[in-house]
Symmetry: C2
Subunit: 315 residues, 2 copies
């Protein structure tokens, strides 16, 4: 594009390094937690796939992808990217906020563009771009589906995640969406986004409540535990279980029109792909990509499930 040539002539005249040129080689660091569990496994898969895709699309970009199994390894990864790879941009999904804040601040001070994904840092305003999921929207989509799937109303049980702001926002969004829809929540306990905990919570629900119409498991891992408990108890009253996140086994069941898993709500690990794509767009085009991108949670139904099914992903 012509305006780049002109802009760059000016840039060079001002003494800005030649690395700022359009077709100049730029290095993008991507630092993420290792694939310790399902969602992180999907996130690793999409990060790798996106790096491979973008290296073909934009040969002028080089990517350094590191995975860390603890915060101190991630700190080292980022310090190394700055010191020896001279990264022009960093895409980071922080293992924990506190220990990563300093190293990311240092990367910013070195001149690198900073994209933070999913979990914020302890100090606001460091990142140029923040890409995150939509927790109130996740709850709202789930509640709207529940209300629509139980048009006469009904009795449901809810499994909550680990007690966090994220979990509170999801549950509030859900409760608001089912207001006035004649849906009675019999019980609401923490399954902690864990299959075993959720199995135990669901066993308890099953022994307490003789009639349950549906379950909001609120997460696909918790849904796995819930389904196992229902099967073990041989209960036939429960019409369906609504999980969430977009685990491939659940998306497949939606696609196959499994009556117990009629839908799912996304909280996509592929948001790391969006973060890397946007960072690349910022480096190769004049499109502004600073700001805050909240990725919407989408209802997966048999009609659109194929678009959300990635059989090669571990999640």
């Amino acid at each position: 594009m012509k305006h780049f040539a002109t802009a760059m002539a000016l840039t060079l005249a001002l003494g800005v390094p030649a690395v700022a040129q359009e077709a100049a080689h730029k290095v993008v660091g991507v630092s993420i937690p290792a694939a310790t569990h399902g969602w992180a496994g999907g996130m690793n898969y999409f990060a790798q796939a996106t790096v491979e895709r973008l290296e073909k699309v934009y040969p002028q970009l080089e990517f350094v992808l590191t995975t860390a199994s603890d915060p101190s390894k991630q700190v080292n990864d980022i310090e190394d990217m700055v010191a020896t790879r001279h990264i022009d941009a960093l895409v980071v999904l922080p293992f924990e906020s506190e220990p990563l804040t300093g190293p990311v601040q240092n990367a910013k001070a070195s001149g690198a563009w900073i994209t933070v994904v999913d979990r914020g840092l302890s100090v606001p305003g460091i990142e140029d771009l923040y890409v995150a999921g939509d927790n109130p929207g996740f709850g709202r989509e789930s509640g709207e589906y529940m209300a629509q799937a139980l048009p006469e109303g009904g009795k449901i049980v809810v499994l909550r995640g680990i007690p966090t702001t994220i979990d509170n926002e999801r549950v509030e969004g859900f409760q608001k969406a089912i207001e006035g829809k004649n849906i009675e929540i019999l019980g609401m306990e923490h399954g902690n986004w864990n299959r075993d905990d959720s199995f135990a919570v669901m066993q308890d629900y099953l022994s307490k409540y003789p009639q349950i119409d549906a379950v909001w498991a609120s997460d696909d891992d918790m849904a796995v535990g819930v389904l196992a408990a229902i099967e073990a108890a041989g209960r036939k009253d429960i019409k369906f279980v609504l999980g969430g996140a977009g685990m491939k086994e659940m998306v497949k069941r939606v696609m196959d029109k499994d009556a117990m898993i009629p839908a799912d709500v996304t909280y996509p690990p592929a948001m790391i792909a969006t973060a890397i794509e946007l960072t690349a767009v910022g480096l190769v085009s004049p499109a502004p990509v600073s700001g805050r991108f909240v990725i919407g949670s989408v209802l997966i139904t048999p009609e659109n499930a194929a678009s959300y099914y990635f059989p090669d992903s571990p999640f």
Copy 2:
């Protein structure tokens, strides 16, 4: 990428049209208001440049770009894109919310992805992706700069835009950022984002107030009017004028270290480029791009001005 091939084999088995294949030809409609004034002129320039860029990067994508000088022309453009071009996605910056809502709803019903830019529609939830500027952030960045540029505090005058929610959010953000900074706002009148109105408002301020340290013009067009009034009056007390948006003449003055225009705050017409880029990413990759992207307002200083200077753009 391998997973696409597998996903697509499944998609085809389910009878979804062949157009869903990765490398399949897809058509993206881009409908924007014509270049009736400065900001819209920049927006047209960046839309055109982005379409040209992406047609090279992604040969499987075809773009239909239309510009409309009134809402009814824009309605026709969109109806035509749906009926005769069978668009897979629509990127629209609505001329007005009310008349465009129905046609965009119809495009959505035809199965097209919907990206709405800058101005919302009258009915919520139609768009898959919303890309917008950050009005509170625009005000905050401007206020923080003002406080930093007047470390001892000072007397300023403010020009407001057309009375709208946008203008209120900007002014509130500004006022909050200068709280406790010893900055006295002598006057705050509406210049309506218009050069002539702002010339008149500034003339009035100049006759009323013998000592003014700085002006928050809050928009580059208004800054042009303000500067003309100051020059006509021969006043030397005013240290600087802070506009906003990123007009190229103003960015050039920042870059050239013009003392009267030491900085600018972006509200980039290039947000249309971001919207088109993200829509393309959604069509060619598995990255989720539904949601809400609020493009941050960035402070332009002599250090970074070259990155925001596009001499070929009309704005």
